[in-house]
């Protein structure tokens, strides 16, 4: 559509809904992570036409409960700042509204002419509320111990690097935010981000309309991935909290090419991604150590995480069991059956991507960081070509970097 903006349209009239979204991709930096996380919720809480929170939400209710929301994601060392609107397809709108037109206008109005006060700043009240809510979201992440343990492990893994910055910045960064700088930062975001625009579901977008608005937006910087660094020694960090269950979070680094993403997905599925995986079958089923023990591959970070919840006295034993299963995998102890099961499970997941508009968006947005434009069907084709030798070789590239224990001391 322009040097800094790409349009992704997948029209499918079999859906009863439609969705339009704008994602702005920028490098994560300590200075911008917090303001860029705050801005999308700030601009989308009211508009010039509906200049107050309640008025805007009433309009959305009238539009058959349409949603209008912001979403901040992290891909390795990049931040994705998104705004999306969704609702029922126009054929269900008994009032005759053109839903795509209504929602696209709403989206563009907050992007390009957000509500400001007389001094040209974002309104004070909205700023105060959104800042408070962002800080409360931080608290909620602490409340959820699974999320908390994972985030701590990731922070330690990438300490001092851009990939170690939280997707919404740190609590201190959020607390330090001032309203005065935000207008300029919003302009800067619009100028420097790479735009990925989506129209999905039962709607037929007019590409000229979007090109007119986004043709000159953004910049053409290409998103990259976290560069590989060989771990020097394993970092082990233990924190204690009064919990009944301890959490184990392990991070491995791996040296992989962007185009090898499916190979590493497959390796992770064999290792700990499905109920037939080594971790589930051995650490849970055979050893009865836990309710969950699973691995996940974070492509843009070049990392693989293993997470479990166990008795405090079993932390060490579980960690050894995980490493034991990895060793077996690296030594080639994988059967054709295990490989086939992992492939089939991944195929099922890939074929299901097209069932939900949110999943389609997430898929193509994530592909920007490895194989741009690759469809789930193409990924299936690639996946089916891998052999046991490929998986074993990929597992051989895992290097344990960080072990984080959130140690429960019996609860209260």
């Amino acid at each position: 559509m322009g040097p800094g903006a790409a349009m992704n349209s997948l029209s499918d009239a079999r859906f009863k809904t439609m969705r339009v979204s704008v994602n702005m991709l920028v490098p994560l930096t300590k200075e911008t992570a917090a303001p860029y996380a705050l801005l999308p919720s700030l601009v989308s809480r009211a508009t010039r036409q509906y200049p107050d929170y309640t008025a805007l939400n009433r309009r959305l209710s009238e539009l058959y409960g349409a949603t209008f929301s912001s979403c901040v994601r992290k891909f390795g060392e990049w931040q994705s700042v998104g705004l999306s609107a969704g609702g029922i397809a126009s054929r269900y709108a008994f009032g005759g509204e053109d839903m795509l037109e209504e929602l696209s206008r709403l989206l563009c109005s907050v992007l390009f002419s957000p509500l400001k006060d007389q001094e040209g700043l974002f309104p004070e009240e909205g700023f105060r509320q959104e800042k408070r809510q962002l800080l409360e979201m931080k608290d909620a992440e602490y409340n959820d111990k699974m999320t908390y343990a994972h985030q701590r492990c990731e922070e330690i893994l990438f300490e001092g690097q851009r990939a170690g910055i939280n997707r919404c910045g740190s609590r201190e960064d959020i607390e330090a935010l001032g309203r005065e700088d935000l207008s300029e930062l919003w302009e800067q975001l619009l100028r420097t981000a790479r735009f990925e625009i989506f129209t999905l579901g039962d709607c037929a977008p007019d590409s000229a309309w979007f090109a007119e608005r986004f043709g000159g937006a953004g910049s053409s910087q290409a998103p990259g991935r976290v560069a590989y660094a060989e771990p020097r020694e394993v970092r082990c960090v233990t924190e204690e909290q009064p919990l009944s269950q301890s959490k184990l979070s392990m991070a491995f680094r791996l040296d992989a090419e962007p185009k090898e993403r499916m190979l590493f997905q497959l390796m992770s599925a064999v290792f700990g991604g499905t109920p037939s995986s080594k971790l589930f079958q051995n650490v849970r089923e055979k050893m009865s150590l836990c309710y969950y023990c699973s691995s996940s591959f974070a492509g843009a970070s070049g990392a693989l995480f293993v997470e479990s919840g166990v008795e405090t006295e079993n932390l060490e034993k579980t960690q050894e069991a995980v490493l034991g299963q990895l060793k077996a995998l690296q030594a080639g102890q994988v059967t054709e059956e295990e490989l086939t099961f992992a492939k089939l499970a991944l195929c099922n997941a890939l074929h299901s991507v097209g069932d939900s508009l949110g999943a389609v968006e997430n898929w193509y947005l994530s592909r920007v960081f490895d194989v741009p434009g690759q469809s789930p069907e193409q990924a299936v084709e690639e996946l089916m070509g891998y052999t046991i030798e490929d998986v074993v070789e990929a597992a051989g590239r895992l290097r344990l970097d960080t072990v984080y224990w959130l140690k429960g001391n019996g609860g209260c």
Binding site: K16, Y53, G87, D139, N348, G408
Partner: protein
């Protein structure tokens, strides 16, 4: 075999309801969008069913807490391996869950649907429990219980239910306790299995792309006839009052959590219209368009990502509840009570009522995009004697007066506030 076509002109969808000779009710919901076909096989048997009476036996019987959930875990195992391994061969993604009132086994797949359906129908009808396999599960379920012990959202809800209910088993944890599950034996599992996993007490729902004749032929082959035994739930008499108006606990959290709500006299099971009227009232009262939500937000009392409300009701229990994170849960509860008082005095504004109806209509149409949300919706409604399209129609037909009438349920003297605070 009786086959009935159920249509919704509003949604543009239809499904077939089949009364199978074995006693099982089957729902077949064709869906062209998407690639996934979803099947769910469930029993009207949940964590509240610790005391029951079979229609072919005299007395009521009481069993330890947590059996429904334990059974759910163990049913995946059979003499020749576990069901997960069988699903792994077809590539289907399989799972199961136990709720207060049902136990459900499900899979979703994009290929080889008939093979997976055969596995589902087979393993749910083939219990296999031994001392050894039952014992092995204690460690796994023990960790599942402990995971929930550390989950403040779970804790705030169960503290709320325990404060609200004197004796109804809704107050019990779904998985039971580490102590109660230690009492579970293969005999208990077989006994409860044979009581509740009777096809007359179950339903099968399939949503997606399938050949109806093939599905019914497979059902004919796989379903095992059952004696027409009815199971009745036996509850102690539950007083109309709440057990404790407030309850508080301290956990490792950074921000307090609350659950606040009102106890309704349970009475007869609610109809689709009752549900629709209450949903509209809650949308008027507390949605993001409401004056109440705005006051809570401006007062710094709630946040958009955690505030929620729900009409939570079923066999012998009913409550309207609000939950979320807040620095001042007492102030949230006060504001909710005040707004209810105002609506009682001033009436429900017609504009708000109409707007709420539109929003709920859109949300329900949107939910029909997803095979899993349709399948779970149809199953859970049917196990409670309700029907999906009748609910969507009720949302359109319900009147302002019927909605306002529901305000009388929200009584201050029947309210409970549960709070989790930081240590």
């Amino acid at each position: 075999m009786e086959i009935q076509k159920v249509k919704s002109p509003r949604a543009g969808d239809h499904y077939f309801k089949v009364c199978h000779p074995t006693g099982l009710t089957i729902y077949l919901y064709p869906k062209e969008s998407g690639n996934t076909t979803y099947a769910i096989f469930g029993a009207r048997y949940g964590s509240i069913d610790n005391c029951f009476r079979r229609s072919d036996e005299p007395g009521p019987e009481t069993v330890p807490e947590g059996i429904a959930h334990y059974l759910e875990h163990k049913l995946f195992e059979s003499e020749d391996g576990d069901a997960f391994a069988r699903f792994a061969r077809t590539g289907a993604s399989a799972n199961a869950y136990t709720s207060f009132e049902s136990t459900c086994y499900l899979f979703s797949c994009t290929e080889r649907f008939m093979e997976s359906l055969e596995i589902l129908l087979d393993f749910v009808q083939a219990p296999y429990f031994t001392e050894e396999t039952v014992k092995k599960e204690q460690g796994i379920i023990g960790q599942e219980i402990k995971m929930y012990d550390d989950d403040p959202q779970w804790r705030v809800l169960f503290n709320y239910l325990r404060a609200m209910y004197h004796s109804h088993p809704i107050r019990l944890d779904i998985a039971g306790t580490v102590e109660s599950i230690a009492k579970i034996t293969p005999e208990y599992l077989y006994r409860c299995y044979r009581t509740f996993y009777n096809l007359h007490n179950m339903a099968l729902v399939i949503v997606g792309k399938f050949d109806q004749d093939q599905v019914l032929n497979l059902c004919d082959k796989m379903l095992k006839p059952c004696e027409p035994v009815r199971v009745d739930r036996v509850f102690q008499k539950e007083p109309e009052t709440v057990a404790e108006p407030t309850v508080e606990e301290r956990l490792a959290v950074a921000l307090p959590l609350f659950q606040f709500g009102f106890k309704e006299e349970a009475g007869a099971l609610k109809t689709e219209k009752d549900l629709a009227a209450m949903e509209i009232l809650l949308e008027v009262l507390a949605s993001e368009s409401s004056p109440l939500f705005r006051r809570l937000l401006d007062g710094g009392l709630v946040n958009e990502s955690s505030f929620s409300y729900e009409y939570f009701e079923g066999a012998g229990y009913a409550t309207v509840m609000f939950g979320g994170e807040s620095h001042d849960p007492e102030a949230v509860a006060r504001a909710i009570k005040e707004e209810i008082g105002r609506l009682k005095r001033e009436g429900v504004p017609r504009d708000d009522f109409e707007r709420a109806k539109r929003a709920l209509y859109g949300e329900n149409i949107s939910a029909l995009n997803s095979a899993s949300s349709i399948a779970n919706g149809v199953l859970n409604l049917t196990l409670k004697g309700r029907e999906l399209f009748a609910y969507i129609d009720a949302l359109a037909q319900v009147t302002l007066e019927e909605v306002a009438e529901k305000l009388t349920i929200l009584r201050e003297d029947r309210s409970v506030l549960s709070v989790i605070r930081p240590l």
